[in-house]
Symmetry: D2
Subunit: 281 residues, 4 copies
């Protein structure tokens, strides 16, 4: 059954495998009149592309975005925006070795069980490269939201044992390290821990924190399409993600309502929450 589409009004459909001809996304429902160029998308792809540091896959890919439709004279037309990112380094690996084994922590077995056939080269559709289509679509969403006064920021809060310290967070330093960690001290710890893990052919978990600013109250629809439900689905569908927390998240289970509930006050006549244990949702 079809599962590669997300969203109703602004709807994205992704496609592509790790070692196929390319990766792409169709963004349908983007409003007309938004200025959009390949550079807008490239900026986001450049941040995710592999081979830029010791700490990611060593595959070399430029991941160059091509817009094939939906943009005319520099602006979106309201019609579907098709973005294509060719794979260029896909022939250089020998994946024969993994053809007959199921790698732990990967979807190899699941795909075989489900489909009876599997593009074993680099994980095929279940590769981390699948997120390229999401990132490209996200670049458009981000630009659109910015026009509406909404900004989205995601960063590495923890990489293995290294945790960003709230007192040290400085977003101007975030892109100075390959982890996009806005705490230079923690980023240095992360680099050392990562080197050690790589040295022992191991990997580490981490925590991504995402904040959204400027969103008006009332986005999302009860009951199943609540904003936190939609976000949880989107995030949990990314490979390797095993937990989603909103606000205080799992810690809520150990606190009392009096500690956790965000009570209201008014500032200049507008209702405002005094605290934000609920993540603002």
């Amino acid at each position: 059954m079809a599962g590669s589409t997300f969203g109703e009004i602004f709807r994205i459909t992704t496609w592509g495998e790790s070692h196929g001809k390319g990766i792409g996304v169709v963004v349908d429902g983007c409003p007309a009149g938004l200025p959009l160029t390949e550079k807008d998308i490239q900026a986001f792809l450049d941040r995710r592309k592999p081979g830029q540091s010791l700490f990611t896959t060593q595959r070399r890919e430029d991941d160059t975005a091509q817009i094939w439709s939906g943009v005319f004279e520099g602006k979106t037309t309201g019609c579907p925006i098709s973005i294509l990112i060719p794979n260029t380094d896909q022939r250089s690996r020998d994946y024969g070795a993994i053809m007959d084994i199921y790698r732990p922590g990967h979807a190899d077995y699941t795909y075989d069980a489900k489909y009876g056939i599997r593009d074993y080269r680099g994980g095929g559709r279940s590769s981390g490269r699948e997120t390229i289509g999401r990132v490209a679509a996200g670049a458009i969403a981000s630009k659109l939201l910015k026009e509406l006064g909404v900004t989205v920021r995601a960063y590495a809060q923890a990489i293995g044992p290294a945790k960003a310290d709230p007192s040290r967070i400085d977003f101007s330093t975030m892109y100075d390290n390959p982890f996009y960690m806005p705490d230079p001290v923690a980023a240095q710890e992360a680099a050392e821990a990562a080197k050690a893990a790589i040295g022992s052919k191991d990997s580490m978990g981490g925590v991504v924190r995402c904040t959204v600013d400027g969103l008006p109250a009332g986005i999302g629809d009860p009951c199943f399409d609540k904003l936190d439900g939609l976000l949880a689905k989107a995030v949990m569908s990314i490979g390797a993600v095993k937990a989603v927390e909103i606000g205080d998240g799992i810690r809520v289970s150990e606190t009392r309502g009096s500690q956790n509930n965000d009570s209201y006050t008014t500032v200049d006549g507008v209702p405002v929450k005094k605290t934000n244990h609920g993540g603002g949702i």
Copy 2:
């Protein structure tokens, strides 16, 4: 709002404009294991491609199908199949002349009213080239259905005043004329009528008849997703289509139930309809 996706289980998403870089479709939900090559798709595109006779647009396009994902070692994998057809002849026309006018029988005004911006080159998204994505997806659907014993056949039943005569229909002659009309006499009449219409810079309407064989009873779901409802939506969403009929169609309005209702008999113990005024649905 997103409107370029059709279907739930076998789901297609089309994109592309008449004079953009290309046209394409993402087919999601195709079962794994179906043998599929670009040739399978090309055979269908070749039947619709322009510039093959006097009677279609004179634009020259090879309309070459490229499969970018979802097929591995000659078989579908269950993952989205992305098909791309580059536009090659899109620079040769001067569309400046239609930039400022609304053509009758086209969607120019509608797009302007809806989006406030319009890719005026050749109709943009509302061009007849939009159907390329449908045809490419249809090639896959057709191959899949064939494996299930279901065949679909569409042909021109009427072109302007020329009507295929049931007594003369011979499907072996269908592709001998540019109208895909399985009656050589009617096809000749159609050619003459079309030449005359073109001579007076005019065009003609027509009727496409589509039959499906081998489909088991019970496909479709009550009440809104009835098969005839889904078919009507699909067909009516094609540019220029203004009527959809099932079985006797509009003639049902003038007949009595006793004439129109298909009564049952049994053949070898299986219920069979004696007549087919209802189109089998």
Copy 3:
């Protein structure tokens, strides 16, 4: 598979069988703040309810609408509106006789083939009573559209051989006859033809014409969710409907583009079509 839901933003889900406990609909996505009472819905149900003339089923049903949710202090809240219409006359018929036969022109065989089980009482889910949920939802949609300046009018254009004559149409007379035919002369002919058909235990076809006024240009979304595609699906999913036409409909197949295409002019600077062969879509 689920098929009883229609629409994305204003979404309706219908349920109920001819001889079950009742019929109903859930309307989700109706904007908040619309004044709504059971009387608004009842007015529409009263127009469709059976047993009001010789010409419909003789079953007696009051078809009383109950609103169970989504309305607070006389206004919609934005939450799903659940409407329930109990069946009251469902025990009075003996349907044992049709338990073992497949009626022509009904879905009896289809349901058996699809589900292997069938609520044979009065057609079960495939009964004409299924439209009660649509009518109740339509009453809400109609009230909402009216606030937006959009009006929808449907009437009988033809009943068997009786056809409303455009020169005689007078909508003030429409509800004076049981066919909702706005031409008193044709309505009288229809009554006679219907009596004759009933006398010979037969039935007749007809044509319903629906016009929408006040709708702005640009509603619907290319390509699959075009307005005419969505309308065609909705209409074709009603039991017994076998054809859908937009504008000139099937007659377009026999006319030339020069006759059929609606050219534009401007009235007070606004683009206006000179003719309306395309049904305004």
Copy 4:
């Protein structure tokens, strides 16, 4: 926009407010032939109904399930199953006091901001009573899954400071305490903690653990409709839920791949995971 529908093939649509006439759900897409009675649903509703212990709302509701459609002669027909649960105790509370205040930890403010109108009685649509529709639908899903050899079990793993100890878990005791905690010792601790919290007009968080047995590999669809994504959406859309974890969940962020990845072995020729840090997904 409509947000009260969940699922594509087995699709549920819920409706109803805390103090409206009732709560309900329409289950569409349930296969035909499943034996189903109101008792099947009642058994699940009885486990969630209020007023059974000190620890829940003191509102008295029988929460009696009525099946209004989709079941014929004790079996599902494949048609939508409409379930209605009348509210009976809704008139006995005075909610005037909360008409003008926004309660912390509730959706009062959000609804006002979104809709400009709010059914303030008991939270309206955002009340915990909204889950009644989910539970009723879940009763059907549960019965269906059982026929397929799939069982689903959810229980309280922690209530405030009381945590079920894996070494003491005994599911035969689970329904002996009002928390549905399968560890009698922890359940006793939970009761004491809850009494203390209630004594200070406070509330406590908790953790629900859900396990599914018998599910074949390959359920869900890449990429957005992965099983963990769908589950996360469903769970996170329940009021008060702020975190969803699969397998080791948030603890994965602090472990290495070598600890966390589940490697394979074969048992009787079938691939089996040696560990289950990934939650089996």
